[in-house]
Symmetry: C2
Subunit: 527 residues, 2 copies
């Protein structure tokens, strides 16, 4: 009897899991992007969903895992191609060229990376077996990082309800596509490095970037748009490709981002990557404990950049020697000959766990959003050395909050680095400001991970979220801005004015002509 009762209970407990479990397709992006998406994918898998992740055979970060099913497909490039493409891209940012040569070099480097990574998509769509598998698998939804556009093409090809998980597109696409207004007067465009408090000239710059940015984005995404038009057998524009996401899971939080209008289908999950602090390994624990009262400084340029030109490394090494803290530097390049005693070079470091350690005094970072959120979560003031993409804009945001100092990696001297590091460590206001940001960021009604899980499952359950799609999608540019309405009202107003004037003139003429007629006979009489 007890056994039967137990069995019945187990069955009841299992039932909701089975009936609720859906089928989710995931098309992630490589590199650091995957690092924050992976825990979400694992969590969804844990919750009983059948999660299938499509990854290219050649990749930096994406590996076959136990937690979810991985489907790989062969690609037409090697890991060396990938590495050299990325190295060229980084090198373009480290070349100290004059304007406009620097911009052109960086643009070409970026274009190469965009095209190289979009090759994945072409390879994916030429893999008939994989396409057939997706077609036959009846997935409930697709979760994708769309920055290289393969996810949106796949979603539209299979008409799958889809969610975007990302930090943002270039050219404000992540606001333009969901029809979210972005007033140019206080929302800085990407790559302007302005804050939300702009001078007149900065606002002019912002407007100019706005007028020009679509051109560079058409360059980045030209291949993707052409390929999508072929695959989907209709003419698609860049906006068409990305405007049908049900939900935008954006790694944003307004302690870090500038406050701005948003749309109801945007879900803000900034800080989703801040993991619970885990105990340090014995090796790191020993280093941290040995640092004494001064504590440590954590230094990493992100998961993608672990070495820099030796000249820069020497300058940095000199600067690091000027602080009493022990510096843990993730660095795999040529060891600088002037490496001071307080600097420990490591090939990898448990960044979040170190930042969470009470002995950590500062964080030297490239300004990637993952690192910055870990800095905010753990309330560690930052020295930012932005390298590429959105890093300079991120760094400016931290600086504008008074929680860090930004250095120009091309121009910074040993003294600049040393001064910045000492300032964020010793000037209490940096610690106070980052503590305030941290308190605000962590004081939330629901954890970003739970929020992301909820919305992925929501889209799976309801096959999308069409009730969150604004009617603005059905209007053209003229209609959206009510230009036709105001033109009509202007015409009506002018016409009314014209008719009123005409009436007045007519009345006046009648009056004068009457007077004229009255006078004439008088005259003739007198005559």
């Amino acid at each position: 009897m007890t056994l039967r009762l137990c069995c019945a209970w187990i069955f009841i407990l299992l039932l909701p899991g089975l009936s609720d479990g859906g089928k989710l397709l995931v098309l992630p992006m490589d590199g650091s992007h995957w690092l924050s998406m992976r825990p979400l994918v694992e969590k969804l898998s844990e919750r009983g969903h059948e999660v299938v992740v499509i990854v290219p055979e050649v990749s930096w970060q994406m590996r076959v895992a136990e937690a979810y099913t991985v489907k790989t497909y062969p690609v037409s490039y090697t890991l060396e191609d990938l590495n050299s493409g990325f190295s060229e891209y980084i090198a373009a940012h480290l070349k100290d060229l004059p304007f406009p040569l620097n911009t052109i070099t960086i643009y070409n480097g970026s274009l190469h990376v965009f095209q190289l990574l979009f090759t994945q998509c072409k390879n994916l769509f030429s893999n008939k077996e994989l396409l057939q598998y997706v077609n036959q698998s009846s997935f409930d939804a697709l979760l994708t990082d769309p920055v290289f556009m393969c996810g949106p093409v796949l979603a539209q090809y299979f008409s799958l309800p889809h969610l975007f998980f990302m930090r943002g597109f270039p050219c404000n696409l992540h606001y333009e596509a969901p029809q979210c207004p972005s007033p140019l007067s206080y929302i800085p465009r990407l790559f302007t490095f302005n804050s939300d408090q702009m001078t007149f000239l900065q606002r002019v710059e912002n407007a100019l970037i706005y007028l020009l940015e679509r051109r560079y984005c058409n360059g980045f995404y030209g291949t993707a748009v052409k390929f999508a038009s072929e695959i989907l057998q209709r003419d698609v524009s860049l906006i068409d490709l990305v405007d049908s996401a049900s939900i935008w899971l954006l790694r944003y939080d307004f302690v870090f981002e500038y406050v701005r209008p948003v749309m109801p289908n945007m879900v803000f999950i900034g800080g989703i990557n801040c993991a619970e602090r885990k105990p340090l390994s014995k090796e790191f624990e020993a280093i941290v404990n040995a640092s004494g009262e001064h504590g440590i400084v954590v230094f990493s340029l992100g998961s993608m950049v672990s070495e820099i030109p030796i000249k820069k490394a020497k300058e940095i090494a000199d600067a690091l020697g000027t602080v009493p803290q022990t510096v843990l530097w993730r660095y795999t390049g040529q060891v600088p000959p002037n490496l001071p005693k307080n600097v420990k070079l490591v090939k990898w470091l448990p960044q979040n766990d170190l930042l969470a350690h009470p002995k950590t005094r500062a964080f030297i970072t490239h300004g990637g959003s993952h690192g910055i959120y870990e800095g905010i979560c753990n309330a560690v003031p930052m020295v930012l050395m932005p390298l590429f993409a959105d890093q300079m804009d991120n760094a400016k945001r931290v600086e504008s909050r008074g929680a860090g100092l930004t250095l120009n990696i091309l121009e910074m001297t040993t003294k600049d680095i040393s001064t910045a590091l000492q300032t964020v460590i010793n000037d209490k206001k940096y610690k106070e400001n980052i503590k305030r940001l941290s308190d605000l960021h962590l004081d939330r009604p629901i954890h970003p991970m739970d929020l992301a899980v909820h919305w992925v499952e929501f889209v799976m359950r309801h096959k999308g979220a069409p009730h969150l799609r604004p009617a603005a999608h059905d209007l053209n540019w003229i209609q959206y801005h009510s230009l036709d309405v105001f033109a009509f009202l202007l015409v009506v107003a002018l016409l009314s004015l014209f008719i009123s004037l005409k009436c007045c003139l007519f009345c006046c003429r009648r009056c004068f002509s009457k007077k004229g007629r009255t006078r004439k006979p008088t005259k003739s009489k007198s005559h």
Copy 2:
């Protein structure tokens, strides 16, 4: 030893409650508005906060309660004045006058209610004892329904961080004040009764209302703005009065509201008033059970309107007799002589519990937002008879979702009512649509009550939420719309064009004059 351990545990358990407990001042609004705010106030009190609610001595709904402290103040009007003011307001909506007389009558009725209810505020500020109490009490925050503007004046007078809890202001103030863009092309203005899919002429109407609406709002709020300027000893505008709320707790949900841009300091708590279903009293249970297979229809025109002119009541009674369902009608007026057997008149009904009953087939409502959310939460299709304020707009929203039918209370005939009621009961698509809305509405990551509690406590803990205030507040109208920037760019472009043209002309002239000079000598030579 065990006792000491117990005591220690009790102390530890109590400590967070004591240390977290804050002091909250509440200035609510009377009538149905208070019905959805009260549970939040009770919840906050339950959570250990010292909650003080300021209410006028004369009020419809607000009573002294045990759950929180109530401070009353005498007012210069009686309950009869209040009732007669509101009756006149309702009567103005039920008079079948031609345009523009109907609009003028309704406007005057509204103006009278606004001025009568703002008298409360004058009475409050003339009560020195109460002001002194507030001044000395060091409240952490003020929670207020600001629709009659007393809350905002009080918040600014005592520089208290404050939250607004509301359904919305007239004239789009709840979007304009927090600097939220509202494109006229797909966001219908209040009182236009349009949906988010507008024809060209509806868009023209929307634009005209936009151009005119501030005038009527200046009428409604003129007294409040003048009084605020006197009290605060500086010139304040209508926007100044309401633009400094830390958080806007808006009773909105996008299954009901049209999707539109929002701001990060807006928190959407639509459906907060949907309570858990409680068992029916024996009296109601008996009526519902006796209804047989046809079930029941719930009919209420809201907490503020329980009687209507007898002519209308007769027409309605005739219509209700045409359906096989038992109709529970909340009605206190003169009993219509033609009342059919299937209609039970009651002075009060447990609306949410009845709507939650599986035997309920339809809900006849005036279209107040509370009732509509109860209809959505419990998936009951609706027949809407809007009377005043936002009710017609609410009704149109439900109708546009295919979840109900709207009747014009002035023009509806017995046949119209009967047809509408039979349609929403018998046409399955109404039940399907309201079920879909209900499923979407209830599938949320956090309950609206918990969300509201979190944000009230957030503002109390952090003394506001300045990190959610957009920089747009620091810009004037010209700057916000970048008119200065585009004018500058236009001047630069025109100047460049002019200079280029001048250069071209200069070059041409040089060319021609050279030719001329070359020719001349030739000519003279030939000559």
